[in-house]
């Protein structure tokens, strides 16, 4: 038999939080909870496995295709298992004016990955403006935000990762 999607603790957390999320919407609008429900699944599993999409869809009363359609529209959802750390580097205009492309090149070298590539440990991506243009350049690691980055700061952040 295939491995179950969740451990018992994860299942409990999922059930409790789905109930809370659904309580924010009108009873006949359960499908509105799609984004928070997908986020919850990703928090638990690190990505959105197909069985998870099916489960979310069934709780929200929609087809799995609908869950997939939404999941594939938004860049923060992972339909494939990413590296342990997802590194999103902003290279948009204000950051580029403060050297973001050079910072990305430095990171590519440091991690041995090109932007758009992944290994077990890292997924490295270029991303769009992160609302940090006044504290450029910037990046996010698993949604944790880092800004006003210098070489020294960047090295310190990456050296601390397990």
């Amino acid at each position: 038999m295939a491995e179950p999607l969740f451990t018992p603790e994860e299942q409990k957390k999922f059930d409790a939080e789905i109930a809370e999320i659904l309580s924010h919407y009108p009873a006949d609008r359960k499908s509105a909870a799609m984004l928070p429900a997908l986020r919850l699944l990703q928090e638990l599993k690190g990505w959105l496995p197909p069985e998870g999409l099916k489960l979310v869809a069934s709780r929200l009363g929609v087809t799995p295709e609908r869950a997939y359609e939404v999941a594939s529209f938004y860049v923060m959802y992972h339909l494939k298992k990413p590296g342990k750390y997802v590194v999103d580097v902003c290279t948009n205009l204000s950051c580029a004016l403060w050297g973001a492309e050079k910072m990305l090149a430095y990171l590519e070298q440091k991690l041995g990955l090109k932007a758009g590539e992944a290994n077990e440990r890292f997924t490295l991506r270029e991303t769009e403006c992160l609302a940090s243009c006044g504290t450029a350049p910037c990046l996010q690691i698993n949604e944790d935000h880092h800004e006003s980055l210098t070489k020294a700061k960047l090295d310190a952040i990456f050296d601390k990762l397990s």
Binding site: H24, P26, R29, S31, A32, A33, M34, L35, P36, L38, R39, L60, E69, V70, F73, Y74, V75, M76, Y77, T91, N92, L93, S94, A96, L97, W98, G99, A100, E101, K102, M103, Y106, T127, E128, C129, L130, A131, S132, C133, G134, T135, A136, P137, Q140, E143, D144, H145, L149, T150, K151
Partner: protein, 444 residues
């Protein structure tokens, strides 16, 4: 305006200890505006906001009171308030500071707006990347429930209001108000055809007001100090103060609260604000209101950063995102990066936008990499025109204004820097060599 010292309204508490906590907010007079508003009839609240000349801070500068007045009073359907905290237009980073430093100011605005509109449920839609900002906002909402500001009774009045944070998941288009509503309904962010406007058919088919975070944070001040006072701070058609976001090649980038008559020159050069450019640099071009706004030349910066004044220059004050590009910056490279953003973020519903945005990007890449051919600049200009001709702003052939947003930079860069584009083609290379962004800061 009189020469009295400028008093910031929105940013007054930023950086002070625990500025985001309810206690601190109340010590500063917080929720007094809501108390006053709750003593008024809903229609009177809307009138006061109209009189204040408050205009939306999300991009279009639409008069807030007027927007509220479009919500039908006799509709049997529930009504909703959706707060736009998607903040994804390149160059814009102001709302996050409100959420981080003073979320209660926005919550107070939400309560006033909701009461005026007969709204019982408000959703605060924050871009997915705002994890920390969502935590702050949620903490403030919990405090507000515990203090009887939200919940079954608002400050003891027989009126129920619930407020929830919803995080997006990485899609600029969800800042467009109807895409935001689709996303709130649990769908992909495909903008809707307008009309009908959200005030009539919005969330779940019900009347809905969509307002920006800063717009709502401005509302309490209209009630604590009165609409006439608020209107008097601004210009004829635009009340209050506003936040502007300064980035790019300046010594002191950041968010600054300014009087509406402050000019771009003041923002960039004043000691209070940007403190000029690094030594040896000169302004080449300035984006006045987020990356979609047509650029201004160095000799056009004596214009006030206010909606009407900027409009005269055929551009827009938009989201308040001011980006300074200096004389070491390649305009082709800059436009290519901006074009790539819009191509990446197009939702793909309309042919001109879906096909035109990557086409612009390919042409710009070709020119920047020295492979441009005679005629490419004309093609580029034609592609931009088929998404949205210009001037004026707003002629887009598409469902939403992302089409215009993608075409406007192309038009305006070509109008002012056509020579530089032609030079790339003539010389078969970027004249800036391997330093298209200049060399600046730690990563030079």
């Amino acid at each position: 305006m009189a020469t009295t010292a400028f008093e910031p309204l929105i940013s007054a508490a930023w950086g002070k200890p625990n500025s985001w906590k309810l206690d601190e907010y109340k010590k500063r007079g917080g929720y007094k505006g809501l108390e006053k508003a709750l003593e008024m009839a809903p229609a009177q609240i809307i009138d006061e906001v109209k009189k204040s000349n408050l205009r939306g801070r999300g991009g279009a500068g639409f008069p807030t009171g007027l927007k509220w007045s479009f919500v039908p009073k006799d509709s049997p359907k529930p009504k909703y308030l959706a707060v736009n905290g998607d903040e994804s237009e390149p160059g814009t980073f102001k709302d996050r500071y409100i959420l981080e430093n003073d979320p209660h100011m926005m919550l107070e605005g939400i309560a006033i707006a909701s009461y005026a509109l007969g709204v019982h449920t408000c959703y605060v839609y924050l871009r997915g990347e705002f994890k920390f900002q969502a935590e702050r906002t949620n903490a403030a909402i919990r405090e507000a429930y515990a203090a009887g500001i939200f919940g079954k009774k608002v400050l003891g009045k027989d009126y129920q209001l619930d407020c929830y944070v919803v995080r997006g998941a990485g899609a600029y288009i969800c800042g467009e108000e109807t895409a935001l509503l689709e996303s709130l309904e649990g769908k992909k962010g495909w903008p809707r055809l307008k009309p009908p406007f959200p005030a009539v058919v919005g969330l779940f088919g019900c009347p809905t007001v969509v307002n920006n975070v800063e717009t709502l944070a401005s509302v309490p001040h209209v009630f604590t100090r009165g609409p006439a006072w608020y209107a008097g701070l601004g210009t004829d058609k635009s009340g209050g103060t506003r936040l502007v976001c300064l980035s790019g090649t300046v010594n002191r980038p950041g968010v600054y609260e300014v009087p509406l008559e402050a000019t771009f020159n003041q923002l960039i050069f004043d000691d209070k604000y940007g403190r000029g450019l690094p030594p040896g640099r000169k302004v080449k071009a300035v984006i006045p209101g987020g990356s979609s706004a047509p650029i201004l030349s160095p000799d056009e910066l004596d214009v006030a950063m206010e909606f009407e004044a900027v409009k005269v220059k055929q551009t827009m004050a938009g989201s308040g995102g001011v980006i300074v590009m200096d004389d070491t910056t390649c305009m082709v490279r800059s436009l290519w990066r901006v074009a790539r953003f819009y191509a990446e973020e197009s939702c793909g519903q309309c042919t001109p936008c879906r096909e035109g945005t990557p086409w612009q990007t390919r042409l710009l890449r070709k020119i920047e990499e020295g492979r441009g051919e005679p005629g490419d600049v004309e093609i580029l200009s034609n592609v931009a025109s088929s998404i949205a001709p210009y001037p004026p702003i707003g002629l887009g052939n598409t469902i939403c204004a992302l089409g215009d947003a993608a075409a406007l930079p192309t038009h305006s860069f070509l109008m002012r820097f056509r020579d530089e584009f032609e030079a790339h083609i003539r010389e078969h290379r970027c004249p800036f060599g391997d330093k298209p962004w200049g060399a600046f800061g730690d990563w030079s």
